[in-house]
Amino acid sequence: MKVAGIELKNPTILASGIMGTTGAALARMSRNGAGAVVTKSIGPVPKKGHNNPSMVELECGYINAMGLPNPSYSGFCEEIGIAKGKMDAPLIASIFGGNAAEFTEVAKGLLSSKPDCFELNVSCPHAEGYGASVGTDPDLVHEITASVVDAVDVPVWVKLTPNVTDITSIGRAAESAGASAIVAINTVRGMAIDIHSGYPILGNRFGGLSGPAVKPVAVKCVYDLYEALDVPVIGVGGITCPEDAIEMILAGASAVEIGSAVHDDTQIFVKISKGIDTYLQKYGYSYTEDITGLSHEMI
């Protein structure tokens, strides 16, 4: 299926930051049925990330503050090459930077390894000066997107943070700058405290919530973006089973990304893409696109 300029093997995509730091890990997720894979977010210089604890399972999902650890674009080209050599699913390179020049430097730096698409991470809620700190400003998002779109010859997706008052204004800024798709959502800003010691659990003290707890937030963001935009929306957040993915698609997603649920089942992609097919058959549809945004018509 073709979505936003790339040919997906099925509508389930590995989300950024999950099993995405090496080419071998990305290829493994493709073997496990991912229709495409997104790399860990890659930046301009090597970064070791925040101190541990950096990811903890809570009652309702997961909280993490990895701090964008990555070997930099020069260190990562080799891994993209390895992944592409081992799989035929498309590879989407997630990148971050502090401003348009840095984003563009990283994108250009990775071009030689031939990613099929870029995903701009303007949405990490816990890395100072990066991610969400740029992704809450529509003008900055416009400038960054336009600059990367101009520098590369593959589709550019922009991944948004839900930690804003109006996600559609950021989505419109990215769309008007040439984004081929909008990806929503990154993690929801959050915190967990150990009541026995009084310490915030994450090394970074606060971080981002993912998993089942964020699904209703993601569904609403996807619903609103579908309404506001012409480009496809990719739904992410709390998807753990076919029903969750279908809900996201009915809200307006053309495809879904899956992150935290890899914890419970590394074969999750096969399970969900099969489940979507079963649903389509049961209700007499042929393609995922037949049900994308269907709930908007139910008034």
Binding site: T22, P46, M55, V56, Y199
Partner: protein, 258 residues
């Protein structure tokens, strides 16, 4: 799971740089070789093998472990686990060989406890840099113990591999190995030459962030197996042709060659 707030109930000084911490939290279901993420409040959270149902045995090497050495009985750490895949428990009647170097004796000792309790015989090759650092030798008293020290201060002068080279491994059904990666790799090569690596299990170390198989920090080439989830214990057959013995990755994901 959130970290379990665990009180230190006893501290045993095993050697100048190694201490065993006992907690009021008991991991009864833990399998030897499984690990816990140990949160030292305000410092870091690091993986440690369970050296017993309620203990970890720590070598002081850096920030988090040095901070642990400042803690006393009654102080607390946060424990998450047990995580990962442990060793295969030997069956009754199986002959076992333990090969442990330095603090690598920590994951192996609980297996020796099981073997001893069942009255099976288990042979051990136990190595360390010097006699002060030989760990848990009384726990390995379930059969013959060959000791090697790098400086020759006790037992045979040299490495566990020197002893292994002269040991007939054909009688053993299972071989359990843990120690520094270079040591483990040399053991792997000796066993492989005898086609005995497939009956050996190795407990590996990589840099862990999440510890639960999500972030990919500990993923190994070329299959993308996670040491924290698919391991830390791997069969020798699974390690053939892998990065094992060649390189690991630092916290940013860059390769560091051994």
């Amino acid at each position: 799971m959130r970290p379990i707030h665990s009180k230190i109930t006893e501290i045993v000084e095993e050697s100048p740089n190694v201490r065993t911490f006992f907690f009021d939290t008991q991991f009864d279901e833990a399998i030897p070789g499984q690990f816990v993420m140990v949160w030292v409040h305000g410092t870091d959270e690091v993986p440690m093998t369970l050296s017993g149902k309620n203990s970890i045995t720590v070598q002081k090497v850096g920030d988090a472990t040095s901070r642990m050495f400042e803690l006393g009985i009654g102080d607390h750490m946060g424990l998450r686990g047990p995580f990962g895949r442990g060793f295969t428990i030997p069956g009754n009647g199986e002959n076992v060989l333990f090969i442990a170097g330095g603090v690598g004796a920590a994951p192996i000792a609980p297996l020796a406890d099981i073997v001893k309790a069942r009255g099976i015989e288990g042979r051990t090759i136990l190595g360390s840099r010097c006699c002060d650092e030989l760990l848990f030798r009384e726990r390995f008293a379930c059969g013959r113990v060959d000791i090697t020290t790098d400086d020759g201060s006790e037992g045979r002068g040299g490495f566990v591999t020197d002893q292994l080279a002269e040991t007939d491994t054909s009688d053993y059904d299972r071989i359990y190995v843990c120690g520094p990666e270079i040591m483990m790799y040399k053991v792997f090569e000796i066993l492989k030459a005898r086609n005995a690596h497939v009956k050996a299990e190795f407990s590996l170390h990589r840099y862990f962030k999440c510890g639960i198989g999500v972030c990919g920090a500990c993923s190994m080439d070329p299959d993308g197996l996670c040491v924290c989830r698919d391991g830390p214990v791997f069969n020798g057959g699974e390690l053939e042709g892998s990065e094992f013995g060649h390189y690991e990755r630092d916290s940013s994901g860059r390769k560091c060659h051994f």
